[in-house]
Amino acid sequence: MVCNVLEYLERAEKLYPDKPAFGDESGQLTYRQLAQAARRMGSRLAEQGAYREPVAVLIDKDVNTLTAFMGIVYSGCFYVPVDKTLPIERIRTILSVVSSGYLIVKKEDEQLGREFEKETKLLFLEEMFQKSVHQPENLPLLTRIRERHLDTNPLYMIFTSGSTGVPKGVLISHRSVIDMAEQFTKTFQFSSEEVFANQAPFDFDVSVKDIYLTLRNGASMYIVPKSMFVMPKKLAGFFNEKKITTIIWAASALGVAASFRILEKEAPRYLKKIMFSGEVLPMKVLHYWQKHVRDSIYVNLYGPTEITCNCTYYIVDREFSQDQVLPIGKAFPNTEILLFNEENRLAEPGEQGEICVRGSSLALGYYKNKEETEKAFCQNPLHEDYLDMIYRTGDMGYINDRGELVFAARKDHQIKHMGHRIELLEVEASVNAVEEVEKCCCMYDDILGKILLFYQAEKEMEKEIISQLHNKLPKYMCPNVFYRLDKIPENNHGKIDRQRLKQKYMENNK
């Protein structure tokens, strides 16, 4: 039984030493190069005394970042990817949750890294996997670490928006990732022939599938440069040049390709599996892809970060009209989906219930956040006979008359915007921190795809709010449209009357 994701890497190293594992704009790494560099880096980290603790990495979309991840795993620690384009204050908040002993940065990001020297020890990526006689792999040390390993140890931590105003670190174990990789491989028949095109940045759990399905199968993965999604002219050529067979992308990225109509000029010839998640894929985007890439299967994947990528899948097996919605299908093997209604009883077919997940895929909870962990991860309400944890997604779903699970709505104020999962309450908390804002309320216009901010203040404050939010929040979390009100409507309990605000907004924007 595989207990450590490094077993995947080492198996591939043995079977395909000279095959490219990961590639980016500036080059590629073979399995042997990847494994050796990761062992050197793991040795250096372990020699510092790091063990079973979070190691933050300022990430890029490149192979060095992935080597760093593997090096951290060799040391027995777990990695925490951090997007370096986030506002400094946001990075500081994340690092304070992690309270990590180490932050790994590239030489070119030294200046940014120095900002956090008070909180953490700075290590330079290049120095850690340098190949030199003075810095060989420390195999005895790595072996000792390996012998102590459990598959329930954490592998990585990914941050997600938190409704209290502080982002939450979702902690995922080796076991959960191995479970994901095995079930995906079995369900979709991946092999060493596979070539993945990675779209999602590495602080997004969509990318976890690219990385570990590649390692699991001894396949190859090419990182699509970010610029190709901004000016996607070269994207179609990329598919054929690299002979891409599988893409597992955010639904919004498929949407970008469709909006720019990139497939007309050159259709991808090797693409056989197209999978998407993160948001509901608009039908016109699906139809566009289906028209230009006919020999592929299309798979709608569903699941939050807390259950390790995805818990259900739907292979598109029939035609859909523009006004229909793709189902999210059925549970992966070794995963169970339970729908609980408001009385905490199983929902009847057709009745809406909260989507709850059981299985090895469940996260280890939110790092250093017992309160939020206990809210979402709890005992299966159907019995108290033994420990049986479920994760409550906060998503509402129902079973349609074909027996397929369909996503219906959110239970709370969480939204999906530009592929990101955002708690509107977190945005509100940041706006409320702006002096002179008396009260505020955020809503999402899902037709326009815009975050609306209603705020109560004596004067127009748009400029001040924007400049303060941009120091604190990722730009995708900042409101797009601002409305100043003399008084935000309240209900009898003195709470903001979201319903009435929404009605007013709809009436004004008819």
Binding site: E264, G449, V481
Partner: protein, 76 residues
């Protein structure tokens, strides 16, 4: 130009489009910004920005975007 500036300001309120000269090369605009920008420009100026117009040098500054709009309008 005024209409264009308004569209840009609504798109990304925090960016100073009067001075910013590397909207694409500097990574200021992302793919989602571009998708909505192109949709709005096509509609507002009754043009059709095609695949071949998708070059950084058409989008790096408000001035360049404006030049492109004028060119596309005259080609109509």
């Amino acid at each position: 130009m005024e209409k264009l500036m308004e569209i840009l300001k609504n798109l990304r309120p925090e960016v100073d489009f009067n001075t910013e000269k590397s909207l694409i090369d500097g990574g200021v605009l992302d793919s989602f910004d571009l998708v909505s920008l192109i949709g709005e420009l096509n509609e507002e100026f009754e043009i059709e920005i095609s695949f071949d117009d998708m070059e950084p040098e058409n989008f790096n500054s408000a001035e360049q975007i404006y030049q492109m709009i004028v060119r596309l309008q005259s080609e109509e």
